[in-house]
């Protein structure tokens, strides 16, 4: 099944629940009408939260730049001795 079909099925299922709620009036009608808006806003907030949390915990590796420099120096020395042109470009 294509992914978009999966998402459509999910949306249809949620819509069916919503329509069911509208018809059976378990929740007062005025509230039920607003549910889709609440849902979209919650989804948006969740997304922003995930972005924020991810940004705070973004893994960085400053020591890797130093290690890379060391590796580069080591490589240049080895290669120069064996006749490979490692002049800076």
């Amino acid at each position: 099944m294509k992914h978009i079909v999966k998402i459509m099925v999910l949306l249809v299922a949620i819509s069916a629940c919503w329509i069911g709620l509208l018809q059976t009036s378990i929740i007062p009608r005025s509230h039920t009408w607003l549910l889709p808006i609440y849902f979209i806003i919650s989804l948006g907030c969740y997304g922003l939260l995930m972005v924020g949390v991810g940004l705070m915990n973004f893994p960085t590796c400053p020591q890797e730049a130093l290690l890379l420099h060391q590796d580069i120096d080591e490589a240049k020395e080895f290669l120069k001795r064996r006749g490979v042109d490692v002049g800076s470009d």
């Binding site: 730049a65 490979v84 470009d89």
Partner: protein, 240 residues
């Protein structure tokens, strides 16, 4: 009597104007893969800076059987570079990696180990988990990356944490299967590869990698890139 088939790893490195980096990368690959049967396939798109001359010098040091120079006439794009490289692969596993040293060969053993442990069809490097990381990105860049990732995760449910990464190990047959159905270009290409693999049910594992962005100061993420990314996402949403 069943003869145990030994594994050989073919590392495809597309290059364009990587005269210095290609030598460094080759040195580091040989340093970190001492007991491994491998070959490096360099697909150079007619670099004007003499990259191919440097590769020929590397032949003298490491041998022409381990370093395969398979150039093309001009810059033809990443996807076709992999397809071109694949034609010369003699291994049963293929590694793809960048030539600019943002991908460090020291992680190659961990890719290989992960694949042997799990039998995975694809092992992909991820920068976004503990043990991995990025250096050289400012806040704006991190924000865009994180936002793009959250959007892609929400829409596509890809099953991997780093969609645009291009440091990956594939079983050769799996790479051949997926690459034939991919049409995108640029980094959306990498996304399409991994999403299609996920949809086809291939076993995908991740290993943490560190990514040192050495192209300081270049604005690789302008408005047009963002639009291209969103279009790519929409395309993947509908066609995979």
């Amino acid at each position: 009597m069943v003869k145990e088939k030994k594994n050989k790893y073919s590392i495809i490195v597309p290059t364009y104007n990587e005269r210095l980096n290609i030598a460094l990368i080759v040195y580091l690959i040989f340093k970190h893969l001492r007991d491994v049967d491998f070959e490096i396939i360099i697909v150079d798109d007619g670099s004007p800076d003499g990259t191919q001359e440097v590769v020929k010098q590397l032949h003298q040091v490491y041998g022409e059987d381990r370093i395969l120079l398979r150039p093309r006439a001009k810059k033809l794009g990443l996807g076709t570079a992999y397809i071109h490289g694949l034609k010369h692969v003699s291994g049963n596993f293929v590694v793809i990696m960048d030539a600019d040293l943002s991908h460090h060969p020291k992680y190659l053993p961990s890719f290989i180990k992960k694949q042997l442990e799990t039998g995975a069809s694809i092992v992909t490097g991820t920068r976004y988990v503990k043990g991995g990381g990025v250096h050289g990105w400012n806040l704006m860049r991190k924000l865009t990356s994180r936002g793009a990732n959250v959007l892609a995760q929400t829409l596509l449910w890809p099953g991997v944490s780093d969609l645009t990464g291009s440091f990956r190990l594939y079983k050769k047959s799996v790479l051949e299967d997926i690459i034939s159905s991919v049409v995108s270009k640029g980094y959306v290409f990498q996304m399409e590869m991994i999403v299609r693999a996920s949809r086809k049910g291939y076993h995908i594992e991740e290993v943490p990698i560190t990514f040192v962005d050495r192209v300081f100061g270049s604005s690789k993420l302008g408005g047009s890139e963002i639009v291209e990314y969103l279009k790519g996402l929409a395309y993947l949403l509908v066609t995979t």
